[in-house]
């Protein structure tokens, strides 16, 4: 499978809940997630993110995240991974939903990114 989706949140329940929401409209899309710290406290874990990248059946990963350190740890994971990671600074739920439903419909990446563009709300001046 070419593309997979990765969800990173500070909270394990959000990291589990968003895939549940989007998998419903994307039965054949690979979706993995990483939530919370190694102790399942609120925060993010590079190791959990790396595992979720490994376990994802996609050979290229479209990554969606909630806040601050989630992005920084995603970047570090991207630098260390052999797979390509694309990190989107968009609204987490809406962005992941757009990507999942369009991947399911076999829409190409340029069209998906066009649809994601207006959802950008993070990491900007």
């Amino acid at each position: 499978m070419k593309y997979g989706i990765l969800i990173v949140s500070h909270v394990p329940e959000i990291a589990a809940g968003v895939p549940r929401l989007i998998q419903q409209v994307a039965k054949d899309v690979a979706i993995t997630s990483a939530g919370g710290t190694d102790e399942n406290e609120i925060g993010t874990s590079l190791e959990k993110i790396q595992q979720a990248v490994e376990q994802n059946a996609g050979s290229e990963i479209l990554a969606f995240y909630d806040l601050g350190s989630a992005r920084m740890n995603l970047e570090m994971a991207a630098e260390l991974a052999t797979k390509k990671l694309r990190i989107y600074d968009v609204a987490l739920i809406e962005g992941a939903y757009v990507a999942a439903s369009l991947l399911q419909a076999q829409v190409g990446l340029p069209a998906i990114e066009k649809q994601l563009a207006p959802l950008k709300i993070k990491n900007q001046e």
Partner: protein, 195 residues
Amino acid sequence: MKLTLEKYLSWINEFSQKVIDKKDYLSDLDSKIGDGDHGNNLARGVTAVQQMLTAKQPQDLTAALKLTAMALISKVGGAAGPLYGTAFLEMAKTSSQTTELAELLTAATAGLQKRGQAKAGDKTMVDVWLPVTAALKNADLTSTVIEKAVASTKPLVAKRGRASYLGERSIGHLDPGAVSSGYLFEALLVAEDEK
């Protein structure tokens, strides 16, 4: 000033002790404009650093810096992890070419800014790392420089990190990461003074 393994170890030990002593204060600062975990996050990080350095007994500066970075990156759990971790990792990389402290910190600060995208005046730890690095280049790093840099974050509006979601409401509070970075550089002054 050139950094040696011995100096580095006393620097990081001094910093670790300070973070552990001030854990609650750092988390209190973070609860004003963030999520109240900065002291706990960083204390967990420096405890892991101490364990790692004791277990691995690094024989050179580069190895010691790299172990520090790895422990912080894997154990902190908040933004301070990738930020401090990247800073120490950049110092480790640079230390194979030079051990001049000003050069190490220049690389560290650049790494920090690349990782967090913060500029001067965004009310983050970068507001301490930038002036401290500049002072080290002129060989005039003092406690006053550090204190002024930390205090400068108080009137600012946060533009990065959790505090940025508060907008104007972030005015009037010290940035917790700036305060912990102040401890890092105070610890450096202490280590420099040791004979």
